[in-house]
């Protein structure tokens, strides 16, 4: 249908024309003025307390204590069950969050500006691995780290970024791909490149050298530090692609630990949801799949722009880490995702695949026709609140999201 082809050409053009730049770190209340007390943004499509999984509930109670809305976790859980908190998806507020994806008033948010289109997107700062709030952790250690990010790291990064022209992300990601990152479960290279880009400005704007040292050490010691930047970048790239009449391109994929949801450009902001699937992967010592929670987080925005599982061919090391088979299998993941996308990104290429560009712009028609669903590299959270990350793996988007979206698009363009 010519109307759809024209729309999709424009969608792909907007994705490839994006110019994402990390420009600031600011309190969420400044970035998202409509945020208010007792309002919690979460990962995935809309969900209320009664349907939330264990780690999501753990994060909600933890963030309520962090924000001073509840004196302890037990009271916070009672308040949540009584409807004391207002829940909304990050995606409804130009934001994204990994795993549980908690976004509230006082957290610092990294700001990525798409300078080709003028829109901004936000994501909180990555807390590191293990027992952290994004995996449902909520004890004193977790909350103390969040306070330090709020009071020390976030302001230091913001001050440094405001003293520069920001960090251009398109070229940084291009280099990361050549250094073995896929930007979802492997961010070693891009985290290092980010530190290199920011360290001098952070030193130049620092007033307390001890605090500066701690901040730089935290960034240097967190291999996944760049993930949250990549996510804000993904959101900033995809938002201008929303609402193109008749386009069948996916503009968001995300999960809340209960449901997987997608949005499609030609059907506006409607969520198409289905029960989320369980990742298949490898577990940290002492844990098994019996401990695992179903898939969770807004981080699938990186697959939506052609990275993560779509760029597995750039990152043979990650194939082993997520239990996806031999290193040589990594290329097959990328080639398979090429079957359900409209084009390749000529600026994000994979040397080991003869500089093939990452598969870009998921077309729901191709997903339904081929039966091939997006492959996602993901972390695995413990199913109980308060424990944290227990492994990493691969999960597939549920086909039911795509068939529902296809029916809705057919209705919208008048061929149902």
């Amino acid at each position: 249908m010519e109307r759809i082809e024209t729309a999709n050409t424009e969608a792909l053009r907007r994705m490839l024309a994006a110019d994402p730049v990390l420009v600031d770190v600011v309190p969420a209340a400044d970035a998202i003025p409509s945020l208010k007390e007792r309002m919690i943004l979460h990962a995935g499509p809309p969900i209320e307390w009664d349907r939330m999984c264990g780690p999501m509930r753990g994060a909600v109670t933890g963030i309520a204590v962090f924000e001073g809305w509840a004196p302890d976790l037990e009271t916070a859980a009672e308040m949540a069950a009584d409807g004391a908190f207002e829940f909304h998806p990050n995606h409804h507020f130009d934001a994204v969050g990994p795993m549980t994806g908690m976004t509230t008033l006082s957290q610092p948010l990294m700001v990525v500006e798409n300078q080709a289109f003028g829109n901004r997107a936000y994501c909180a700062v990555n807390e590191g691995l293990g027992k952290v709030m994004r995996f449902g952790g909520n004890d004193a250690e977790v909350l103390d780290r969040l306070r330090w990010i709020r009071d020390v790291l976030g302001p230091a990064m913001g001050k440094a970024l405001r003293s520069t022209d920001g960090v251009e992300l398109k070229s940084l990601v291009a280099r990361g791909l050549t250094m073995g990152d896929e930007m979802h479960q492997r961010n070693v290279a891009c985290s290092g490149l980010t530190l290199r880009a920011l360290a001098a400005a952070m030193a130049a704007t620092a007033e307390d050298t001890r605090a500066l040292s701690t901040a730089l050490a935290f960034m240097a010691g967190n291999d996944q530090f760049f993930l949250n930047i990549a996510m804000a970048m993904g959101k900033a790239i995809m938002d201008p692609v929303r609402d193109i009449d008749a386009s069948s391109v996916v503009t968001a994929m995300c999960r809340n630990g209960t449901d997987f949801g997608i949005r499609v450009s030609g059907t506006g902001d409607t969520w198409f949801t289905a029960p989320v699937e369980m990742p298949e992967g490898l577990y940290f010592p002492g844990f098994t799949e019996a401990d695992a929670n179903p898939d969770m987080g807004d981080s699938t925005i990186v697959e939506t722009i052609g990275l993560g599982g779509f760029a597995m061919g750039a990152s043979p090391a990650v194939a082993g880490f997520v239990g996806a088979g031999a290193a040589s299998d990594a290329a097959n993941f990328t080639r398979t995702m090429g079957e359900i996308t409209l084009g390749e990104n000529p600026e994000w290429t994979i040397p080991a695949l003869d500089y093939l560009g990452v598969p870009t712009a998921i077309d729901i028609r191709l997903v339904v026709e081929t039966g091939l669903v997006p492959t996602i590299n993901t972390g695995i959270a413990h199913r109980e609140p308060g424990v944290g990350q227990v492994g990493a793996g691969v999960v597939r988007a549920p086909m039911a999201c795509f068939t529902a979206a296809l029916r809705a698009l057919a209705e919208k363009v008048g061929v149902a």
């Binding site: 249908m1 082809e5 028609r365 191709l366 081929t370």
Partner: protein, 65 residues
């Protein structure tokens, strides 16, 4: 007229006189069976559009896929 080859007269009788080389489309199990018998076989991964769901196939056709 006798110079025009008759396609229906193409001899197939010798098809099995030598080891066959097979291109197999669809279910992979048949390819496995042939390989177990040392028959050269290339498998083509193919499935009907939309897994054979007639309603979705109809929509895909109208949506230009």
């Amino acid at each position: 007229m006798s110079d025009i080859p008759n396609p229906y007269a193409t001899p197939l009788g010798d098809l099995l006189d030598r080891p066959p080389a097979v291109i197999k489309v669809g279910l992979e199990g048949f390819s496995d069976e042939l390989r177990q018998q040392d028959v050269e076989c290339v498998h083509v991964d193919w499935a009907p559009p939309a897994g054979g769901d007639p309603e979705l196939a109809r929509l895909l056709s109208k949506l230009g896929s």
